[in-house]
Amino acid sequence: MTDKRILDMNGIGKSFGGVPVLADVHFHLDAGEVVALLGANGAGKSTLMKILSGNYSRDAGTIAVNGSEQDLKSPADALALGIRMLPQELSVFSDLTVAENIMIGALPRNGMHVDRGAMEVRATALLERMGLDWLSPRTRMGTLSHHVQRIVEIARAMNGEARVLIMDEPTASLAADEVQMLFGIIRRLQADGISIIYISHYLKEVFAVSGRIAVLRDGRNAGDFTTANTNVDEVLHAIIGNRVGDLYPAFSVNTASAADVVTVEGLNVEGWLRGVDFTVRQGSITGVHGLIGSGVEMIGRALFGAAPRTRVERVEIDGKPYQVSTPGKAVEAGLGLVAAERKREGIVAMLSLRENMSLANMPLFTKGLSVDRKKEATTTAEWIWRLSIRARNAEQPIGTLSGGNQQKVCLARWLLGDLKVLILEEPTRGVDVGARQEIYRQIRQLADGGLGILLISSDAEEVAGLADRSIALASGRVTEIFEQPTEASALMSAASKSAAAA
């Protein structure tokens, strides 16, 4: 391994709409080095990597590749410099061959035709480099298993003069032996002098594969450790810092005595959750924390009847048996769900704030055969005031509001009805810090008002800061139950009991 500096990012700054996301960030990479880039959600990891891969422009700072300063104005610039990014989600062409998938960005030509011979020869060479010498380049991509497709994707990234490979949560959907296979490939690439930036929440994997750990927190450098000379606690501390405090309201006092409003036993979602039990208590916040891919995405919507292939042994709502079926039935039973993907599953962008507000509770706003617009308008005005939603007026299309204000509407629409349990999926994703604080305060007020709240988040800090009791999920199972408010680090280590650690 040489000490040759391949990448030097200095004083990087970036803001979106006046809100700084990165401030004076430094990041460097030597040839053949594997550096883990860590940080909580919103710490600025992906913004930094999008700047490096030419997807975002930077507001300040310099980037030097191989010692010479670069502009990096577009993804094409980054590709030409040998900077390759492996996206979090698989992006392959299932109906094309392995060779075509690998060479798609630079198909060798013979006049007007694709030179299939040359394409397959080059693809084979790249596959061999990945240790996939058994794989024929003519195999159709769709017939391969997920982890082999992933490796073919890495082969594609290695085509041409690759120097730096950015891997964003590469193990999110891999099993233990597949993770080991991936690590083998990382070591091979490393031996070839390729530098790797490894983004992951799984600390054990990070410790197994990286030589150095760089931590970001709130858009700034928060630590740079040689992996061999540090430990999990030190790294977790750097990730979390000491800022958990006034962002969150106080915890509930009488959680233990409260009754269970929802009891779930044996919740299964094919491919996601296995035998999960949990309860939601009246007047308190029950947190669920897990990393992306752990099943945390499904637990709320499975109870709500919105996850396909769900089986559940027993559910009780308010002591009465409940059969999970459709969201419509869940709403009737007094459940509400605020979805994580607000644009896709939360709002109807073209409709007004008022129309979005009443949508889940139309029977409440119906007089005779028609909509009671007067009641709709007064209720909307009331909630705009109560949640301090910032909008021109109630008739503004909701798609034109900011993320935080959209989220407040998504909350309010459930609160105006007769609700027993509110399921919140990633309630502050894409929401700025100011609005976050207000949303947290509102969630706490709702719990104090007697509502049972299920707070589902892949952000351990959020669960630690808000939940009166919580459970941690990993690989579709409950790994730990905390009956009291707990620390983010405890939740994180319970949730990073990854299959890869075995």
Partner: protein, 333 residues
Amino acid sequence: MSQTTVSTAPTPARNRPKNLLGHAWAGVAMLLAFYLILVAIFTVLSPFFLTVKNLLSIGSNMAFIGLMAAAGTPLIIAGGLDLSVAAVAGISGVIVAMCYTAGIDIWVACLVAILAGGLIGAGNGALTNGLKLNPFIVTLGTMSIITGASLVLTGGLTQPLMIPGFNWIGSGKIGGSGGIPVPLIIMLVVYFLAWWVMAFTPFGRYIYASGGNPEASRMLGIPVDRTQILLYVASGLAGALAGVIVAAMLGAAAPDSVGKHLLTVIAAIILGGTSLFGGRGSVWGTLLAVLILGTLNNGLTLLNVSSFWQDVTKGAVLLLAVGLDQLRVRSQA
């Protein structure tokens, strides 16, 4: 915990100058302006155009297309599509004629035809929503089946239906010989009904929500599938009613009389500002578009322009209007 800290500053996030083109009614206003320009041009070019009689005949001739478009509009807004509607109108006339020939009372025959239309709509809805099939493919298929079935049932022959009471709903007038044509009245009643449902009922809200964002609507417990199925039924009923009116107007059931007008129906809905992707549109836009297409047809005929050129003009107008509307929508985004 006080609310005052934040709610005292109600400044909107972005203070964009209020754009007139961005107003909800701007699309309809543009169509109205276009219609008036068209009327002005034809008035100058033809002395026969601007007469009460001629204008009413446009309305009367376009009524069956307007009916189909009135039901097609909420369906497309809700995220569906019915290409079989004109074929349903065709078979509806055939059913009336067959029932009548079999000795059934003419009004009962009409009822049977309309119910059959609703049933076909329910079939379209069940296939698209129950089996999750693409509405374009499903209704293309049922369109072909129904068109074929009409020809099979009649052997391709036109069946006469000269019954004075019955013909009145196609060519009758209220208020003497210069009065308002019955088909026009039926169409306007349907438009008011559709408007009331879409603008004032919870079901209307579900129509816009289902098409605007089906995933979000489902997550809110809105019966998206039921909404769409009911609209397919409505489209089938409207198609059948249109068929009855055409049969009454022609005094005969011709199996291939309405099918060719499908593209005009779809063109009117799109021209009227309804988004093919769902979530946006109004029946008044559609009604104006029907008037525009009818006026164009009528005016060009009065000017002795060949019907071949009329098709070219109709297509050009459609592209122009849709292009302008897209510019308008983008300017507000």
